[in-house]
Symmetry: C2
Subunit: 717 residues, 2 copies
């Protein structure tokens, strides 16, 4: 039995129980949790003692005494059409008055009123009190909106639980460290807190300064949710700092962008890029001061990736400057594991596994055990490629204590994790290919492409998330690159480049695909032998008679209603193609796209039934282009067969089909990972059923194995 690399929750009411599981599971860290207190003697329980710390909330006496230090939010009113030449817009319409209060400070300087029908900003308006803006000389039948600042009255994370559970404690209000007085107060609070919590040696920050974007219609109903949005970092003070640093005025419209809040699907304008840079620098600089204090006290600083994480982009330019020791992330997939495990410049990285030890998620031994194994199987794939340094659980340990099978499974998972970690020993696993994902965001949004709410599936993006989950556990080396990286000549580094997204978004690339230089470089990379994989609307930008600008390379394009006159004859499916050889069931595309057609010469791999023969909709195709190869699919959900199909597609695109049966497991429900440094293979069963598979070593030598449910068989050369 091994020990370490495991964090478990503890509780002042469950000290003896904690000791038991520290021993049994080999935990070396204990943590507190919402609604629990660490035992006084926590330091005796484990080497590491974590405690949650909020930087900008918690001190409600201070917060409520200083309205002037309240955080703000960049807001836009609902749209209204003028039916006469005067129009009044109620700024609080469809907002929750316990979350938002209109901030009228210097409103004539910061607020903006737009005629959305013409696109022009207008000046014939005023604030008339009672949350209302009146527009004079409105143009009849034009639509108007008001951009404004709202005070952020209530910590967005607390709202839902508070309202649902009828809490009555003071509502947490966040203060803004953009004000030097607030920062000073925060540093002082931290000193006091550390003094009061000597047993804590890891401060678990939840998180830092500005919350991700979450607006409510009421206490229980959300207006919007955007895990990646900076709207809650904005304030008149931040805008003043912006002007000072960049020499021009920051405008609410740059952040609000006609009501889209310039979310990460939209390529940011130059001012917004500057704004992101400012907030990231501000957060890093501020946190560096705070973390210096933590280190001076001999403790470690850990970032919980959640809540107030805006400006602390783990793959951003200024992240390292905070000098964090660790990041802990809540994970539910291989993608979210990799988002944590790939972060550079940290001492260690940890993931919190599901299920939570909460009454609603941990109340049945069989269901909880299955949930743990189900998630573990998915996350383990990613760990086997790039491990985090630690795993952990949250909630109330006493609840787990009632479930014997569950506790035995935690023990098994913890031991398995430590075995994986030790076997890999920080050495790179074998990778057959070098792969890049190309989007506007590149490196900065590593493992966050096409996401709104971590990896939650939205119908329109469903088809462009699955491939990332497949990649998280495949034996390929993965990088995230931008169009600027393309211009810098980086394509040559890769065997296969992906472009996946909805047309017109930052992930597909939008107007970058009108850039002749980009087109030349990408086509040249492919024509010279590169592999390219497009999902949904790769290289989409309607121009010059194409929708997919790389249609010549991809072999497909989309009928958008303007060329129906042309008959599309290439509709024969090549079902025996290398890419399809492990396919048994129909491909789950997770929605995808209609009206795709194949150019003559392309290799159609799947097609939808025909309403009329020359207008069948292609679902999947491959194409040879110069010395290179491309693969296209309208979408790809995550499952075992699709993962194999994707791996085959990558190998085919890279002209490396012969690598398939190297360090490989034949059955799609099993996978093989190879660690050359220790000459060890992990042969993995990703399912809860027994699986038979043929294992191929790195030289292609085959041997049959039978794996127990969820088993890893370790094979030494």
């Amino acid at each position: 039995m091994s020990k370490g690399r495991l964090t478990i929750p503890t509780d002042e009411n469950f000290v003896e129980g904690t000791k038991k599981y520290v021993e049994r599971w080999g935990a070396d860290a204990v943590r507190d949790c919402d609604g629990t207190e660490l035992p006084k003697n926590a330091a005796e329980l484990a080497e590491k003692v974590y405690k949650t710390y909020f930087v900008v909330r918690g001190d409600n006496d201070f917060a409520y005494a200083h309205d002037e230090y309240m955080q703000n939010i960049a807001l836009i009113s609902e749209r209204h059409t003028a039916f006469s030449d005067t129009l009044e817009i109620d700024l609080m319409e469809k907002l929750f008055d316990q979350q938002i209060r209109v901030n009228t400070t210097e409103y004539k300087k910061y607020w903006q009123v737009f005629d959305r029908t013409t696109g022009e900003e207008i000046s014939t308006w005023d604030y008339v009190g009672d949350n209302k803006v009146r527009i004079f000389q409105a143009k009849k039948m034009h639509e108007y909106t008001v951009n404004f600042f709202g005070y952020n009255l209530w910590d967005a994370t607390q709202v839902y639980n508070y309202t649902c559970n009828n809490w009555t404690v003071t509502k947490d209000r966040c203060y803004d460290p953009i004000y030097p007085e607030v920062l000073e107060h925060i540093l002082q609070n931290l000193d006091e807190w550390m003094e009061k919590n000597p047993q804590v040696n890891v401060i678990r920050f939840t998180t830092f300064l500005y919350h991700f974007f979450l607006l409510y219609l009421s206490g229980v109903s959300q207006k919007l949710f955007d895990w990646y949005n900076y709207a809650m970092s904005a304030s008149p003070a931040m805008f003043k700092l912006f002007e000072k640093e960049y020499g021009y005025e920051m405008k609410l419209e740059y952040l609000l962008d006609k009501g889209t809040w310039a979310n990460q699907f939209i390529i940011p304008s130059k001012p917004l890029q500057d704004y992101y840079d400012l907030v990231q620098r501000f957060v890093s600089k501020t946190m560096a001061k705070i973390i210096d204090k933590v280190h001076a006290a001999g403790k470690e600083a850990m970032m919980f990736w959640g809540d107030n994480w805006m400006g602390a982009e783990p793959y951003g330019k200024y992240f390292a400057e905070m000098k964090l020791d660790a990041v802990v992330g809540s994970v539910s997939s291989g993608t979210t594991v990799r988002a944590v495990s790939d972060i550079p410049n940290l001492k260690y990285k940890e993931i919190r596994l599901l299920p939570y030890f909460f009454p609603d998620t941990l109340n049945n031994d069989e269901r909880s055990t299955n949930a743990l194994l189900h998630h573990w199987a998915i996350e383990r794939r990613a760990i086997l490629r790039k491990p985090v340094d630690r795993i952990g659980f949250g909630g109330y340990l006493s609840l787990a204590d009632k479930l014997p099978n569950f506790c035995a499974t935690v023990e098994r998972v913890a031991n398995e994790f430590r075995t994986i970690y030790d076997t890999m020993d920080n050495k790179a696993p074998y990778c057959s290919l070098k792969v890049a994902i190309l989007s506007y965001w590149g490196k900065e949004k590593s493992w966050m492409t096409n996401m709104v709410s971590q990896d939650a599936p939205y119908p329109i993006t469903g088809g462009v998330l699955g491939f990332l989950e497949s990649l998280a556990g495949l034996p390929v080396d993965i990088d995230f690159i931008s169009f600027e990286d393309v211009k810098a000549g980086r394509l040559q580094e890769f065997d296969v480049v992906f472009n996946a997204g909805v047309a017109g978004t930052a992930f597909s690339g939008d107007y970058y695909w009108k850039d002749t230089k980009i087109l030349e470089l990408v086509r040249e990379y492919i024509a010279n032998g590169g592999g390219f994989i497009g999902i949904r609307e790769p290289s989409a930008y309607e121009y010059g008679g194409r929708f997919f600008q790389l249609s010549d390379a991809l072999g497909v394009d989309v009928e958008r209603g303007k060329s129906i006159l042309l008959h599309r004859h290439n509709t024969t499916v090549h079902a025996d193609h290398f890419i399809l050889r492990d396919k048994v069931n129909p491909v789950d595309y997770k929605g995808g796209l209609d009206h795709v057609f194949a150019n003559d010469g392309a290799i159609v791999l799947d097609i939808a039934p025909p309403p009329c023969s020359w207008q069948k909709s292609v679902k999947m195709a491959a194409n040879e282009y110069g010395k290179g190869r491309c693969f296209y699919t309208v979408g790809l959900g995550y499952n075992a067969e699709n993962t194999r199909l994707l791996y085959r597609a990558m190998l085919w695109c890279a002209h490396k089909e012969e690598l398939l049966e190297k360090a490989f497991a034949s059955n799609v429900h099993t996978e093989c990972h190879y660690y050359p440094a220790s000459k060890t293979y992990a042969l993995v069963n990703n399912t809860a059923e027994e699986q038979k598979t043929t294992f191929y070593d790195i030289d292609g030598k085959a041997k049959d194995y039978t794996l127990a449910p969820n088993e890893i068989i370790w094979i030494k050369e």
Copy 2:
């Protein structure tokens, strides 16, 4: 038994049979057909004797002796990417060498080579013989195309039958009356023909000068089909005439538009508008000369709407100038009936019913009878609104003679048609509403909206064709209007305005929806009480935070991947709404659109099942806007329930729900048409089954009826 208004085919080998059916069916016209000759005594068989006449084909001795008079086609090569700095493009790639020959006349003046990657026309190219254009100094990885003229070697209609049937006669070649010598020859030919055919008193032109656009890959396989395209009217000579008339050069690119051939889904550029005008004037002027001769000979001139109809737009500005007596159209739906019956400025209009009397379509008594009744039921709806003056059949009468039930049914249909015609007596039927269909094309494309090949359904346009078929037989007065009509203040004439089409097309309206004036006028029309119905992507133009620019009025918009952060809460279906009250089965939207959401306040009428709760896809919605009302649907197939739903939607939008049960039949499979002049109702069973229905007279008085299959019950007040 009635007589007249019926044309039947005859044949020199079936004279006695013809007499029998002239008598039995009450035919007053006989016609020839492909592969048959009129009997010598045709004039004794019926009052009217039709004979097919080709203006620009048939005289192959002349055609083959004069290559210089051959017709041309505006063509574009396949797209090719330059992999080095020289690129050769084979102009005949994917063209059929028996249909096309490259026309190198003044190629440096007319041909164009485009770099499609930059969008620029280039001059570094030359024709190097053997159908090849060589591009020098090509930019590597750029795509190129060549615009060029091809000779039109073979009449496009003849190709398929000829190839399939292994014919060996001379291939029909068309000559171009743009050359005065050709026109002179045509006029001379006509004189001779009329002299040789004295018994013919109706010349059935098939059609006039330029074929609709039909390109082949081989004799049996089509490259494209566009019933509405002018590519086959183009020639160096026509371009010279253009320059003379308009003072600037016509360019192939205006017609070819990056390979879309600027089909009717694309709003034409100004030069192309001028070009259409030129061809229409030329065709009208030329045909006027020809038709003058016909009239001088005491005969009538009839246009068969098909084959070479380009430039003879029945709803165009110059159509009347030809002084045609009649149009005959082949029909397969109510829409195609109305396309014929609504043509202004003619002595009479005729439709050719299905099935053809051909061996492959008329060989089984029961099937042929059912086919006739099936089509008649659909077409009769349209005739009951706006009758044509005559009906007819084509093919070999001797084949019909073998099918006794079929012949009895023809008799029934002919009698029923004459009864309808006499009852309507050219008086307007009762209309509850005045309705307009708004598109770029307006009047000119009446009953041709969203079509490529008459009313053939393509997947992407499937959802925007059905409503037109429904309208063809509904008791509403229908007009087709353009955005210029909107600017001219014409919206006020209508109770309900439709906008239906795919985003970015001429039918939806494309950039007209960025025109502030248009938006003001349409919104004002609705806000003042007008009704508006949008289908698929009405008012679509991404701008200002909207995709549907009329989203405020329509109550819906489309999630295009840039505002997924916003939760859409309006997802409750109002199943008891007035519009839905006759709905029993799920609506057949014929494809349609995903990711549509309803604005707050809109009335959701149907929604697709949810992948996640705030991202359900709205299928149908209604909305109140000022004093007006809107209805939206993602698409609408033609069937009885959808037709009723559409009628209800129109009445609701017009605030005229109380008109529903006036001159009305309750059962959706039955309809009621009212003729106020004769105070007569037609209560119609549109199905081949018995139907029970409640009839409501114009005052709303109800009475139950049972209708035999396909029956019309005539009710006199």
